[in-house]
Amino acid sequence: MNAPFYKFGLFGDEASFIIAFFIGIGFGFFLERAGFGSARKLAAQFYFRDLSVLKVMFTAIITAMTGLYVLSRFGMVDLSLVYLVPTFLVPQIAGGLLLGVGFVIGGYCPGTSCVSAATGRIDGMVYIAGMIAGLLGFGEVYPFIVNFDHSTSMGQITLPKLFDLPYGLLVFAVVLMALGAFAAGEWAEKKFGGKEPDPDGSLIGASRRLTPVRALALGLAAVGLFAAFAGDPYRGNRTTIDTKDLAMRVGKGADLIEPVQLADWIIQGRSDFRLVDLRPQKDYAIYHIQSAQNLPLASLTPDFAAHSEKILLYSDDSLEAEKAWFLLEAQGYKSVYIVSGGLQGWKDFVLFPIKPQAATDSAFERQAPVARFFGGAPQTANASAATAATVALPKLAPPPLPAAVPTGNSTAQPRKKKEGC
């Protein structure tokens, strides 16, 4: 089974509207069955008299959540294709508070107001009119609050990802929390609403039998427990890309490292990055930048390095490195960079830097020893035509001692990568 069906193209837009209509009928039907066409019943939630809102909402949430977990875990649904509303934390907190206040004042939420209006409740119809007025007003002020509305963007993010906990474990935690809330809610109904728990319809009633409602609760708890140990529900490698962020970084060139910069790092003996040579092994054997490891594109798996590690990529030119960069970004690596210009850039700016006409001698002075450090040779502009012979890649040999490099600002002390702090 390949679900979500719509996302796999099993039917088109027109058919999806018919499906929407029937899903809506189910939605409205169960809302009305629950008594949510009545504002009094809904509002009683906030006076602890009748906690139907809590019970219906959380039963629905844990039913859909556990069901989706099981279907995804067994490969029937591709969970990454189920649309997740992006998180904008502060606007969502503010909007939630506003909705809560509106709920107590108006007695409905948008969904329940529809079933209330459909069953003849005049207050439900007036509520909808108010909502439309609110939307019209919002449409007019939107341009002034658009910045707030788009603030604290966190992208599409789930609780398991945020807390770095297994998905199934959170499923189980939510089920347990919901069942606990149900028990507490029934207790509150008894205390504040004077409602004796219905022996067949409650979890904490006096009856000792396994009533259908208790069986439902047990069943959900059992699926939750299964989820806690059954592993990741995502199919294959999860690839979530914040395209906006990506575009911004590429646009700013923040994904590039200049060869000269890399040369400085190597000379300084920094080891807080991993340099990856993407070229075929035979090219790597002939020449590679010091400290680079040879990893062809296919071996860049989601676990070849820690996701927080700084990874520098290079190839002959930029194309292969750009492919790899995108792949690693998609796999969730946090800081991936491309050595600008690839190995060609390394040759042009580090190994065989050409002295530009405009450059002062002192500026070039610093470059020359760097080039020699890596076994190259600085070139002068007028000699460039005749350098074909001299521009041969240096032999792979142990580098000269760092002390021989008068870069001035370099401490030449290899620093150990910081771990676990």
């Binding site: 008299r49 139907s52 939630g96 007695g107």
Partner: protein
């Protein structure tokens, strides 16, 4: 005529109603790859209406423009619009089957109809604004995002309950 036919039937047990709702939500995930929603449909309807009355105003507004689509088809040809039409029909069917169809105003014993309707309008307005700031309402955020363990949805959900409980005391005369 049997009078029993006309007495409203009791509501379903909350857990079973919730279970049914959960299965509908699950069906939506599996069939469509998306959850339920309500406020989005009303926004689309409002945007379409504004576009009808003042086309250039709607097209120039960054808010309405998002809901108008690319202009190749009516903005009302939208998944959520059809879903919400279904919500009205489903609610109506359930109401008919349970003898709960009645032209009335839902309010507490100490409330007056005028005040109740005024508050219903104000509450609806606040919800309309809040739902747009939060990118969804109780169905699109709390219910759908809750089941997907969406970070923003859970923050939103706690704030809905928090906001409601915080002010409930001041509006008690309307309900209890």
């Amino acid at each position: 005529m049997n009078s029993k036919l006309h007495t409203p039937r009791p509501y379903w047990n909350s857990y079973w109603a919730g279970f049914g709702l959960g299965l509908v939500l699950l069906a939506s995930f599996v069939i469509m790859g998306r959850g339920l929603g309500t406020s989005g449909a009303f926004t689309t309807a409002v945007a379409a209406a504004v576009h009808k009355v003042a086309p250039s105003h709607a097209e120039n507004s960054p808010f309405y423009a998002e809901y108008l689509g690319d202009g190749t088809r009516s903005p009302l040809k939208d998944w959520l619009v059809f879903e919400v039409l279904g919500v009205f029909v489903g609610g109506f069917i359930s109401g008919v089957l349970a003898n709960r169809l009645k032209l009335t105003v839902e309010q507490g014993p100490r409330s007056t109809t005028a005040r109740r309707l005024f508050f219903a309008f104000v509450g609806g307005g606040l919800m309309g604004i809040g739902a747009k700031i939060a990118l969804g309402c109780t169905s699109g955020q709390a219910l759908t995002g809750g089941a997907l363990l969406n970070v923003g949805s859970w923050a939103f959900m706690w704030c809905v309950f928090g906001g409601a409980y915080a002010v409930a005391y001041f509006f008690r005369k309307q309900w209890i």
